[in-house]
């Protein structure tokens, strides 16, 4: 507002709205290009049939092992208030700092997250044949190849830090690739910083909540920071198990179950991971594990997912 009687302020659209607009736009463009594409004359269908069948089989085999999440057009909003929070989304695990909001959704088959504000660590299983995982924050798009990384956002300022693995950051047409211990900031989009420790990376200078969020009553929230909290052995164990899933699922399952016996915040996460892995592998323990999870952690971050998986198992749907 320039003054009490100045021109009215243009109220910005929230990220979730931009996200809807963009998805609607690309869907429309895809439909339009499919309609306008000229049909070939006299197609030799008999030639295409075996190729298509093989491709369909390969896709089915490639995706069936981890395609337990429905494709959902409506984003799921996850908000961490005064305390940090964590959640699983498909094969990704997300740890939200306090005062952070994310939208999780599927774009086509690809799981995606939109950082509305704040910061979060993402642990994403190696993609391999899986659809890519994308994190968006403002104009930055972080495409994930299988890694653990952190995205912090304050209004239009975005920081990305990679713990291990590789991510690609697309920002206003430019693309940079980050590997372990490298970071990127939208303030200097062409530069990649390398650090021995993450603690040396400074977050955005003047942190404030975006306009779409109601301001807190008294003290402003602490700014999102790229500095990890303390070294968490259990978290490291969990992440190792996640990486193990693709190659040695039995060992990962044993490790998850071991980790779930504790009383730390990683116990429910590990128990749900074990249950999810069991469902993926059609393991007969799946139902019991989901039931145990719901008994132990009725209000757990993955309670809804657990109920949904259990319902599917009861109904016999894949």
């Amino acid at each position: 507002m320039t003054g009490p009687l100045g021109p009215p302020t243009v109220e910005p659209l929230p990220d979730a709205a931009w996200n809807r607009v963009e998805r609607g736009l690309w869907n429309h463009m895809d439909r339009e290009s499919a309609v306008s594409r000229p049909q070939p004359r006299r197609p030799r269908l008999w030639l295409a049939v075996p190729v298509l069948a093989a491709a369909a089989l390969a896709l089915w085999l490639g995706f069936r092992s981890h395609d337990t999440q429905p494709i959902d057009d409506e984003p799921t909003r996850i908000v961490a208030g005064a305390t940090p929070s964590s959640a699983s989304f498909g094969d990704a695990h997300v740890e939200l700092d306090a005062n952070t909001a994310l939208d999780m959704f599927h774009q086509g088959r690809s799981p995606s997250a939109m950082v509305e504000y704040g910061a979060a660590w993402f642990s994403v299983a190696p993609r391999g044949v899986r659809p890519p995982f994308e994190v968006r924050a403002g104009d930055a798009i972080v495409r994930v190849i299988g890694t653990r990384f952190r995205v912090a956002r304050d209004a239009e300022h975005v920081d990305v830090l990679v713990d291990h693995g590789i991510v690609e950051v697309r920002f206003r047409g430019a693309l940079v690739t980050l590997t372990a211990n490298q970071s990127w900031s939208s303030a200097k989009p062409t530069e990649i910083a390398t650090s021995e420790t993450h603690a040396s990376i400074d977050p955005a200078p003047a942190m404030k909540q975006p306009d779409v969020v109601a301001p807190p009553a008294s003290t402003p929230p602490p700014p999102p920071t790229l500095t990890p909290n303390r070294v968490d052995i259990e978290r490291a164990r969990y992440e190792t198990l996640q990486r193990l899933e693709a190659k040695r699922p039995d060992a990962a399952m044993t490790g998850y179950l071991e980790l779930s016996k504790g009383s730390s915040k990683w116990a429910p996460i590990a128990l749900f991971a074990a249950a999810r892995l069991a469902v993926d592998r059609h393991d007969r323990r799946a139902k019991s594990l989901l039931t145990i999870y719901l008994n132990r952690f009725q209000q757990g971050a993955n309670a809804d997912d657990a109920r949904q998986l259990l319902r599917r198992l009861d109904e016999g749907t894949p």
Binding site: L5, P7, E22, G24
Partner: protein
């Protein structure tokens, strides 16, 4: 404006337009990201709120992508998109059915009572009254008034965006203003707001 487009900027605009027109999704997305705020800004200025604006932003970009093969670089890509957006806004207000019920304008509750919060609430109220009055204008006048008086564009720029002559725009703004002042006779808040906008008139 068009004649001032530098050669490098023009080449850049033409290159991305050509790629996006050819179906390159990366170029289309880059264009969307680069222009979305400008598109939203133009729509908001003419319509006055974010109500229904998501669909209109999407419509504007669909039209922009459809029309990209015709972009020749005579103006900046941004200004060219703004022209299309203005047309989308014009069509939207032309299609709108006239309001049959006057909504009561309620002043925002000022939570903390600070002068700043009060100032914001006053300005919001005035803006709501202005756009409620604009709803009664003919779409041509409304678009011209919104772009020239509220957004502060020059008459020549508004003429380019609306595909009209400068004289036509000037007439529409003048007539629009006259109608608004007539509506403001019994509304001191609106009258004062119009006066303030005219005070900064270009």
């Amino acid at each position: 404006m068009g004649t001032n487009v530098s050669s490098a900027a023009r080449d850049e605009d033409l290159a991305i337009a050509r790629r996006a027109a050819g179906g390159d999704r990366v170029a289309q997305r880059a264009l969307f990201v680069a222009l979305r705020r400008a598109v939203h800004h133009t729509l908001y200025r003419i319509l006055g709120s974010n109500r229904d604006i998501e669909d209109l932003v999407q419509d504007a970009f669909i039209e922009i992508f459809r029309a990209l093969p015709t972009f020749r670089g005579d103006s900046t890509l941004s200004r060219w998109c703004q022209t299309i957006t203005t047309r989308i806004a014009y069509l939207a207000i032309s299609r709108r059915r006239p309001a049959t019920i006057e909504l009561t304008l309620v002043e925002d509750v000022v939570a903390d009572g600070s002068p700043d919060a009060h100032r914001v609430a006053l300005a919001r109220d005035a803006a709501r009254r202005l756009y409620a009055a604009l709803d009664h204008l003919d779409p041509h006048k409304r678009v011209a008034f919104a772009l020239a008086v509220i957004d502060g564009l020059s008459l020549r720029e508004v003429a380019e965006l609306t595909g009209s002559s400068t004289f036509a725009v000037k007439t529409r703004v003048w007539r629009g203003r006259r109608e608004l002042y007539k509506r403001a006779q019994n509304d001191p808040v609106l009258r004062e707001y119009l006066g303030a906008l005219d005070g900064g008139d270009r």
